[in-house]
Amino acid sequence: MSDVQTYPVTVTVNGKKIQRFVESRTLLIHFLREELNLTGSHIGCETSHCGACTVEIDGTSVKSCTMFAVQANGAVVNTVEGLANSDGTLHALQEGFRQMHGLQCGFCTPGMLMRAKVLLSENPDPTEEEIRHGIAGNLCRCTGYQNIVKAIQYAAAKLNGRTYQEAAE
């Protein structure tokens, strides 16, 4: 495959600067998973519907199957692998998802977590309705969302210095 034209891409992924040559048609999700071995972000549709591939790019949520790797040139990309706190403890969202039983098969979870992270940065104390609308681009087949909502409320409370009251159902 030596005659395939490739282009240089420089991105900062989870705080690390990375440089690679990629085909123009390579989707960002494939670049992350195949090139960088960051397999936390998943593929549920490749048509921008399910949100399993959601990552954070320059502070916003992006479905990484919707974007070419070359379009991420110069961007700061964060994936679930970089979500934990720098001291190694779990992020409030990771803790919330476990405490509130916000996941089952775990396939949607990385995308949900990364979406929720940006949601909380935009709206640090969302209502249930705001959370439900805020994660509407991320499908989950297992949980019925109720405990995902609680998990995000748990994290919001923790990040705001409160203790979340409700127990997981």
């Binding site: 397999t39 692998e81 396939f107 087949r141 297992c142 969302y145 997981a168």
Partner: protein, 806 residues
């Protein structure tokens, strides 16, 4: 020694055994992106495979020209049926006793059927190559409507079965007929109808849908020519069965096949069967000598691997005028698609549809099921249900509502009047099952009280009057559903898959320091087995759940089991775990007796060890016993502390529940708003209430989707319409209602820990609750039955038909 001063409650609590809301161990890796799903696995020199699929639903293949594709740099191989023929692998047996083309053999029978398998260096090149393969077709007439399938002049869909008028399940009546399955006393049932005060009859369609787990079906096959060994990673709900099938088909000895199911991103029945993608990946790795990965895309998933339902149930109930049911007669026309690839136990071509008498004391019943071929995708899996139990529950629960309407009775009262009473258990049903335990009246009364049922009915009545007076355009529906499931397949006397009895298994090994590794024949796809199985062992053996590692899915290390589907894990594997633990406990008791120099009979179990009766100061913990078993076993006793159990259940289990849905429908938009959904489940002993409720939330959400819009639809040419997440309804967090959960506990008398299984109850009971709510809302306007799915468009159409838009 801290150990000495802790209280009994603390000893109990630190086990995190059965009944506690233990947080899941799986979550630690899943929340950090460290799951290990099939597509995450890479092997050196790995290549990718993908399919050329049929554009037509029914056509002869005149020619396949792959020359341009083969010339494309990066393409390694293109396989067609001609390449598989010498290996005898162009057709494969299905779980239902039929055969299915692995790659189309001269003809295609459904749209998107597999025609050729392209192997290339990466997924992008396989896609390029697929575009370059030219297939010449000659179109054939198409059968889409199952009711037309057996018309005298219907085209022959399966010429390969030409002249074979006996199928795997007996005689075939027509060239597109697969089987007829009947059960029950026909003449007694006919008589019940002849003599009944009241009868109702309605054709209830349960539309075609799809389990669509978020992770599609996929595998990675690698053949080592030198060792003659095949390794297959895959999304397998039943990895051992896949290994056996792979061995039978490939002729590679079973011990040289390593089938491994790693983390699975949801299954819901989609990942039970053996698919063309698996076979082709295996052939391709053998042919090319490099590992081959196959990953379905979403369109392929929705349109080819395993649809669910497509049952058309003509339902009749006979009753006395005061509402006592006297007979049930059901005829099902079952659309199985182009190949009969239903995933049912071998002897059950219609699954356990004969649970259709539901929770009611029917003196007599008769059921007949006709399976037919059409030009649609094969499958017929149990989408979050035990085999055809959702269909059965929908049939009887809609039927009871229709009867209530005819009698002018309240549907909840009609159910209360006809429930099997507590003292009738174990109960022999008219269609051959022995229900293990139940207390339906208690559950129903608790549920009715919890939602203030009578007050809701009063409110509904007032709303109906207001609607009639023209004061509102909103109507209110109350959906009642009381389901009885049959799960835990199953006893070897009546359940097998390809001749393998449907037992399940567990192997528990205690290490010298008292920690445990345990392996099962089941396979979690999100159910949290790593958490809950450890809880069972913790309670049985007194070792903290945190010291117990659960491993599933590796067929080299796990004992043979039939896998996880049909809510069979807790009833079967869960029982095997308890039985294996009890074998260990028996041996531990001998060791403890030896250590304490007393007779075994002088010992009693106490939370986490044995103590001398009447002298509780003298005791040995399980940890101490574990050490002794490796260090100083009693003379004559084998060292070590481990056990295996293969559990053949004596009966199925019969979970049940009472579900209520309260809905408000805008007749001008057809939009239905779920005001309340209350679900009371009785799944017997509860192992982890947090996980149970999570399962109920998930199952209800799937039920909501199915009842309110999720459908795999075909046009009249057999084109599958809307096989993407753009059109196929998967509820988001916005549409999904809030779920209220509740429970009663009626343990299974024959299960070692009394557990019945729960994963599928909410889907089984949920669908009729939603559909009954929609139908209940329209009942006062003169409607008897509106077919599912109840999306806004169809609800609007139903309203229009009833003349309320005028």
């Amino acid at each position: 020694m801290n150990e000495m001063v802790i209280t009994r409650e603390q000893r109990e609590a630190r086990l995190e055994g059965m009944g506690c809301k233990r947080k899941r161990v799986e979550d630690v890796r899943f929340t950090q992106g460290r799951g290990n799903y099939v597509d995450d696995i890479k092997m050196p020199n790995m290549v990718h495979g993908d399919f050329v699929r049929s554009q037509y639903a029914h056509a002869k293949i005149v020619k396949i020209d792959a020359s341009k594709a083969k010339a494309l740099p990066g393409v390694i191989a293109v396989l067609t049926a001609e390449d598989l023929k010498p290996l005898g692998l162009h057709w494969m047996p299905t779980l239902a006793g039929d055969v299915q083309a692995v790659l189309a053999d001269g003809k295609v029978c459904f749209q998107n059927q597999e025609i050729a398998f392209v192997v290339a260096e990466n997924r992008y090149i396989t896609d390029d190559a697929i575009q370059l393969i030219e297939v010449e077709y000659e179109e054939l007439p198409v059968v889409v409507d199952p009711f037309q399938s057996m018309a005298p002049d219907a085209p022959v869909l399966r010429p390969d079965l030409d002249g074979k008028m006996t199928g795997a399940h007996g005689p075939r009546k027509h060239h597109n007929h697969i089987f007829e399955w009947t059960i029950g006393d026909q003449s007694a049932t006919d008589l019940a109808f002849e003599t009944a005060d009241v009868t109702v009859k309605e054709m209830l369609s349960y539309h075609r849908t799809h389990p669509s787990p978020l992770e599609t079906c996929q595998c990675l096959a690698s053949f080592d020519k030198i060792k003659g060994e095949l390794t297959v990673y895959g999304t397998f709900q039943a990895p051992h069965v896949i290994r056996t099938v792979a061995s039978l088909l490939s002729k590679i000895p079973e011990h040289k096949i390593h089938v491994i199911a790693p983390d699975i991103g949801g299954g819901f029945g989609n990942k039970v069967g053996a698919y063309a993608g698996y076979i082709c990946s295996i052939v391709a790795t053998i042919v090319t000598g490099v590992p081959v990965k196959w990953v379905e895309d979403r369109m392929e998933n929705l349109s080819t691997t395993s649809f669910a339902r497509d049952y058309h149930m003509t339902t009749e109930i006979a009753a006395t005028k005061d509402g006592k049911v006297t007979g049930l007669r059901v005829h099902v026309l079952a659309d199985h698609g182009a190949f009969d690839a239903c995933a049912d136990p071998s002897k059950w071509p219609a699954g356990f549809m004969n649970i259709v008498t539901g929770s009611y004391d029917f003196p007599t019943a008769h059921l007949a099921v006709d399976g037919v071929y059409t030009n649609k995708a094969p499958g017929g899996v149990a989408y979050r249900c035990s085999f055809r139990v959702t269909e059965a529950a929908y049939c009887i629960e809609r039927g009871m509502d229709i009867l209530a309407q005819k009698l002018g009775m309240d549907p909840a009262d009609l159910r209360l009047k006809n429930f099997i009473r507590r003292e009738q258990f174990p109960y022999q049903s008219a269609l051959g099952w022995e229900y293990d335990s139940g207390d339906y009246h208690t559950a129903m009364n608790k549920a009715m009280e919890a939602i203030s049922y009578r007050a809701l009915r009063a409110e509904q009545k007032a709303k109906q009057e207001a609607f009639r007076r023209g004061e509102t355009r909103e109507i209110m529906g109350i959906g009642v559903s009381f389901f009885t499931e049959i799960v835990g397949a199953g006893p070897s006397k009546n359940c097998d898959i390809l001749g393998v009895a449907m037992f399940d298994s567990a192997e528990i090994r205690i290490h010298p320091t008292g920690s445990i590794i345990a392996r099962m024949g089941s396979k979690s796809q999100g159910q949290g087995h790593e958490t809950t199985w450890a809880q069972i062992i913790a309670t049985e053996l007194g070792i903290p759940a945190d010291d117990i590692m659960i491993e599933e899915g590796n067929t080299d290390t796990a004992p043979y089991g039939l896998g996880t589907y049909g809510s069979r894990s807790t009833p079967v594997a869960g029982a095997a775990i308890a039985m294996a633990a009890r074998k260990i406990k028996n041996k531990a008791q001998m060791i403890a007796a030896h250590l304490l120099e007393v007779s075994e009979y002088d010992l009693e179990w106490d939370i986490d060890g044995f103590r001398v009766k009447g002298n509780p100061e003298r005791s040995k913990t399980m940890k101490e016993i574990a050490w002794a078993s490796y260090n100083s076993p009693p003379p004559g006793l084998e060292p070590g502390l481990e056990a295996v159990n293969y559990y053949d259940p004596p009966n199925m289990t019969y979970p049940f529940g009472a579900y209520f849905c309260v809905m408000d429908i805008d007749v001008d938009t057809g939009v239905a708003k779920i005001r309340r959904f209350y679900a009371l489940d009785d799944c017997g002993t509860r192992i982890n209430p947090m996980i149970i409720e999570g399962q109920v939330h998930g199952g209800l959400t799937e039920a909501f989707a199915i009842a309110m819009g999720q459908e795999i639809k075909y046009d009249e040419l057999g084109n599958v319409v809307g096989a993407s997440f753009m059109d196929f309804f998967i509820p988001t967090a916005v549409e999904t209602p809030h779920w209220e959960t509740d429970h009663t506990v009626t343990p299974s008398p024959h299960h070692p820990i009394g557990a019945k299984g729960v994963g599928e109850s909410p889907n089984v009971g949920g669908v009729p609750a939603f559909s009954n709510a929609v139908n209940d809302a329209f009942g006062f306007l003169g409607s008897t039955h509106i077919q599912m799915p109840h999306d806004a468009w169809r609800v609007w159409e139903a309203a229009k038909k009833l003349g309320v838009h005028a």
